[in-house]
Amino acid sequence: MTEPGPSPSRPAPGGLAASAPLVGRRPEPTVFELSSPGRRGWSFRSSDLPEWDAAELVPPGQLAEEPVPLPELSERDLVAHHTRLTHRQYSVDVGAYPLGSCTMKYNPKLADAVAALPGLASVHPMAPAQLTQGWLELLVELGLALEEVTGMEAVTLQPPAGAAGELTGLLIMRAHHAAERPDRPPTKVVIPDSAHGTNPASVTLAGYSVVTVPSDDRGCVDVAALRAVLDDDVAGIMLTNPNTLGLFEEDIAEIAHVVHDVGGLLYYDGANLNAILGVTRPGDMGFDIVHLNLHKTFAVPHGGGGPGAGPVAVTERLARYLPGPVPVGAADGSYHWTTPSRSIGRVHGWHGNALALARAYTYVLASGGDGLRRVAEAAVLNANWLRQRLRDHYDVPFDRPCMHEFVVSAAGLRRRHGVKAIDVAKRLLDEGFHAPTVAFPLIIEEALMIEPTETESPQTLAALGEALVRIAAEAPTEDPGAPRNTPVGRVDEVRAARRLIPTYDARPGV
């Protein structure tokens, strides 16, 4: 086996963070310790208004005698504090972030400029539609693009994250069954054992019970086992395709057939939609309900854990149940809000994470139809290249071509050398890369789930592959003290849970 492209010992400027300017290993004080009473950073506009006292404005008994204690510091010290904190933080802009299923791709800076436009960012959500025609047009156009990408016929942009999209989709499923089978609506939803944890949690919150189906020896849904659990008490099935092992569910057409046969609906978890953009569509596979993670597939930045956006697209017959209001265009070129006839109701206080939606629309415009297909191709190419690079060095549970991500196992390393998946992850941090997803999916022992994404260059991939190969090779003399090159060493998670300190005020001695 020969390695293509440049030698991996050459630099990988786009994806290796070993040279990041982290500021050493001394802890940064909390903002509360930096506070100096009487210091101030704030200022307000001159208003020329009457200066009524607080006691004239607040009824007796409700006025706080003492103000809420908050840090008092100069703007300079506040900015320095947060700048130092950011130096203690890994990010996509610093280096490669192969966190499986999370799709940590590069986030184009163009979208930052869009999200900062006053004509978008300074619009009140309750302003009448005639004052917000630009926003409504943007949302309608984004919705149409998402319908095209998913092969669906209607969409809601309200859900603010993937899990919120899941629950929204399941409540649509519930409304559908309540209307179609009012006397005896089904009570169960089927989920494969490889599913994201949000799936079963969402099913419970939607008032359904979970039926788990096992994966077969190819890592896909065991269709025989699925048939065995299907009956008219099944409301539907939630599937991720490609699944969390990075494998395409090749029997999807048959799965759709047997689920529809018992009156169930197919729910598509869009966490991995980036793998199939422009190649195939959930609608063509037979899915009825689809959520999309715009912070994954459409390059909305993840923000350290949000905000994202989780729109839900559905087939024509389910459009009447979508959350309302939805923006629509009229024949005269104007736009207005309308609520679907049997809407499940609002799932967000306003119109969803609007500025995240504007970022996703920017990405659609910049990519075009061809560019979106290119995203899938490069993502799948990168994942397969890295899988091939690693397959002689790690256990590969399902040794066949993958889609946008793949799972390797450190079970052999653990057996032979006591090195677990989490140890591999921590060592990789020392190599200047973020770690893959660890210990998921649950069906794989010592799983490392790796998603390189399409925005990493072959050089970065080669460096990442070389680092992972070296870590496996060094397992017999594994350094249990890793990571050593990070702002803090391995963090004591057990102590955090046992001696809970959730605020500065709960610190012993404060």
Partner: protein
Amino acid sequence: MPSYVPHTDAEIEAMLAFLGLSSLGELFSVVPEALRLAAPLALPDALSEADVLAEVERLAGANVACTGRGLAPGAGLVCFAGAGAYDHEVPEAVRAMASRSEYVTAYTPYQPEVAQGVLQALFEYQTMVARLAGLDVSNASLYDGASACVEAVNLASAATGRRGIRVSRGIHPHWRQALRTFAAGSGSELTEVALVDGHTSWDDDGGPAPAALVVQYPNFLGCLEDLSAARRAADAAGALLVVAFDPVAAGLLVPPGAQGADVVVGEGQPLGTPLSFGGPYLGLFACRLEHVRRLPGRLVGETVDVEGRTAYVSTLRTREQDIRRERASSNVCTNQTLIAVACAVQLAWLGTWGLRELALRCARATRYTRESLLALEGVEPLVGAPTLREFAVRLPADPGVVVDRMADEGFLAGVALGGAGVGAEYGDGLLVAATERRTRAEIDAYVAAMDKVLR
């Protein structure tokens, strides 16, 4: 072709050769032929960066934004609308820190050794939100105020084993709609409790004992509810008291936790987030320590690393969906971390006295606006209860039409209530808010325009 995919044609060929493939299409050979798209996606061709910006600027230009200051013509509307989304200053320091790409382009801190920045910022956020709420513990954020309210109701149901929820009609109408939506799945049984002259009337409704009473403070109409009455009613029913608060009004008011709230939720937008057409906003969520194991979403705790240095980490993870799966009481994964970080920067920028001053300035501007409007002929208070940073009036005209005509005068006059707007149960009216951004000159001009429109 976008530059975000870096591969050259030669590199693609080399990588395909390494895999024993001859074309990119072969990567998808596992996708059954019948399912493969026969034609490219029916989307426009890729645009250059400059062309994308021009197109989005065209759309932005088709909105009339709340960018008005000092009544310069054509500068956008001067904002007197609130209803849960407020036109506050966002200091440049907050904008700059919340734009740091290490914060913007990270993900959930699954590897704490390389995520101390986000984790410590969230720890500081949790501390400040807990102090504002007057409770022991805050989570690391939820999606928005509505979702925080839904999660609070779910927590109360799990804590009490009851399904009934009594929701004040002083709760934002959109939040009540969201509560109804999610109750279809959770099985919560919601009953709404009417307002009498702006205050929730907690008389026993004779129904089964509820899990929670839910009240907003100040409420949707801007009125300061009597939380001690709500606490008494909750005690009589053995229910939890959930209070939806306003983090700016908290600069003047006794914290809800000190007035008996078990769970405090809120919309964090007023602290560091622009109007943003409604999102992304920030769900505030705080509770008493006894409920911490039912806390929805992420929680950051302080601990140490192997060498004993202070470090931060996501903790009590066994509450969360990825571990508890179908037994989880919340499905939250991605939340609103970046907005929480902005809120933390804003709160530290304000500090103890800045938050007090902010609340005071909002209350003064609101009072001045209210008194000036009420001096106009035919304008009357919608309810009599005292208000703080927002108020509702009855107009001698259709409020929806008034809002439209006031826009021609350069003002977003407020939010129309009743048939033409939100919350039919309140009757026709106009909900008006004035923040620290409003000057006497702007308010005088607003009232003069209203006088003209109402004549």
